[in-house]
């Protein structure tokens, strides 16, 4: 084994102190769990927990033409963002309509949008955004080799925020615990936020977004303040949660994972993300649009569905799904649902498959029956099945 040190977030030492089992995640040394992944999962569904998501890629895009830039760059339409602080989930596509990454963009003011992208895709995302920004700004300067540096073109600045950390606090008691830990002064500005909104409060950027299907905040803060903030949250009774539980929580919540449920070989239309693609107005020429228009006109051949295993066992990524008479599909995210106490999955299957159908999955050489369901599987602590 080659021992290579991964990137570390400002909270790495906090994780070690709390007994985290550290694993490599997209080049980052991250906590998998702090003892029991399943107990952490239940903690978030029933009380609250905190996740170090500082590995995610926070980028500020500023300037007079920032909205026009995102109209071009994103498959969803930033013109839906009319009130300051509102967030939008979107895919960023290749010219062929494949998904480069999924992201959240926050409209902070007319000259400032903040984007949060995935960690594992950081380099290709920044190369793509910078290329798009240079073409958009008609820049004739040679491209910088350093994609982690800020980029200035006419009317647009792309600023990767390496100086920031990010902590997600999620669960039915998350908000109360945040006020308790970080100050009552937060209650009014943060408590007033509607779902999928953000506001800045002093040095904190507080958003009502998340990846668990529970209430809570995602807090972006100066890297230097992260260890102390993490400690304060822990003292208020917020348990640390690792990436293991993060994955089962998001799967139960029916939220896509980049690289598993979609990538550059799939379009958002065949990844359960049609709701994030704004084809109206038809004159908005976003990157990848032509392919999506064609795919929609011809009929999307594949769809993402939920699966529930009827018997015992665990569904896993890449298992083949045989859909009676409709062809074959593949599990894109399979795991065990601690809330439902059974195996669940997202799977890409032929378009003819219907909700309520039965299908067969090869479980380590044994055929097992699964039921095709609508997802999410769990929202706000309760089964949706």
């Amino acid at each position: 084994m080659v021992l290579a040190m991964g990137h570390r977030t400002p909270l790495y030492d906090n994780h070690l102190k709390m007994g985290a089992k550290i694993v490599d995640f997209g080049g980052w040394d991250m906590p998998l769990h702090y003892g029991s992944q399943i107990e952490e999962h239940h903690k978030v569904r029933k009380d609250c927990g905190m996740f170090d998501v500082s590995h995610m890629n926070v980028v500020d895009v500023k300037g007079a033409k920032v909205r026009d830039f995102f109209r071009l760059l994103l498959a969803n339409n930033v013109d839906k963002l009319k009130t300051k602080g509102k967030a939008l989930y979107s895919c960023m596509l290749t010219a062929k309509g494949g998904v480069i990454d999924d992201l959240i963009v926050y409209y902070m003011d007319d000259r400032w949008f903040r984007v949060v992208m995935n960690a594992a895709t950081r380099d290709k995302d920044m190369a793509w955004v910078n290329t798009a920004a240079r073409e958009f700004g008609r820049s004739r300067h040679p491209a910088s080799r350093d994609i982690s540096a800020s980029l200035h073109v006419s009317g647009l600045e792309v600023i990767p925020r390496h100086d920031l950390a990010m902590i997600a606090v999620q669960g039915p008691n998350a908000k109360e615990k945040v006020y308790q830990a970080l100050g009552e002064a937060l209650r009014t500005p943060a408590g007033a936020l509607k779902p999928f909104h953000a506001a800045t409060v002093g040095e904190l950027f507080i958003a009502t977004t998340g990846y668990t299907g529970e209430d809570g905040f995602e807090i972006i803060l100066p890297a230097k303040a992260a260890p102390f903030t993490w400690q304060m949250l822990n003292e208020a009774g917020v348990a640390p949660i690792g990436l293991g539980a993060r994955d089962t929580l998001r799967l139960e919540a029916g939220m896509n994972l980049y690289g598993s449920d979609m990538d550059e070989t799939t379009t958002p239309l065949e990844s359960g993300l049609a709701w994030t693609v704004a084809l109206e107005p038809s004159d908005r020429k976003f990157i990848g649009r032509e392919v999506l228009d064609k795919q929609k006109a011809r009929g999307v051949p594949r769809q993402l569905v939920g699966l529930v295993l009827e018997g015992k066992g665990v569904l896993r990524n890449h298992q083949k799904v045989v859909c009676n008479g409709a062809g074959e599909g593949e599990i894109t995210s399979g795991s065990f649902s601690p809330t439902l106490n059974q195996a669940i999955a997202l799977a890409r299957v032929p378009a003819a498959v219907k909700i309520g159908d039965r299908a067969t999955v090869d479980l380590r050489g044994k055929p097992a029956t699964v039921r095709v369901v609508k997802y999410p599987f769990v929202r706000n602590g309760k089964s949706c099945l």
Binding site: Q37, I38, K312, G313, V314, F336
Partner: protein, 131 residues
């Protein structure tokens, strides 16, 4: 830190074997093995009467993270499987050398037991895997 019981025998595939003194052996997976796998959610064990072959898979443990075969440490016949694990697979995590046992087995050839690792050899194996 995991401690490796001195009175047990071990396999390279991380099963432990306890000699019961009545001609049967009890088999489970080691603390190290359950630690690598994480939270167990499903255990599939051979039924009593099943003939198993040393080094061949005879059961499956699945955690949230991964599935892993359980191998028969020696050839023989299954006498009893731990039925309690079907409803509480987490016992394998909590008490891997005790209540988390997997099955009892009547070895066909007692000499095979001598070929298993002792605690010291197993400790060395675990240490070598950490590097």
């Amino acid at each position: 830190m995991s401690t490796i019981p001195k009175d047990l025998k071990y396999t390279k595939s991380h099963e432990w074997v306890k000699l019961n003194g009545d001609g049967s052996v009890t088999v489970g997976i080691t603390h190290h093995a359950q630690d690598l796998m994480g939270d167990m959610v499903f255990v599939d064990l051979p039924q009593a009467g099943t003939k198993v072959t040393s080094g061949k898979e005879c059961g499956v443990v699945e955690s949230v993270k991964a599935a892993s075969d359980v191998y028969a440490p020696v050839s023989g016949e299954i006498v009893e499987a731990n039925a309690a694990l079907a409803d509480s697979p987490e016992t394998v995590n909590k008490d891997s050398y005790g209540a988390g046992w997997m099955f009892r087995l009547k070895p066909a050839n007692k000499a095979e037991i001598d070929g298993l690792l002792d605690a010291k050899a197993y400790e060395a194996l675990v240490a070598s895997e950490k590097h």
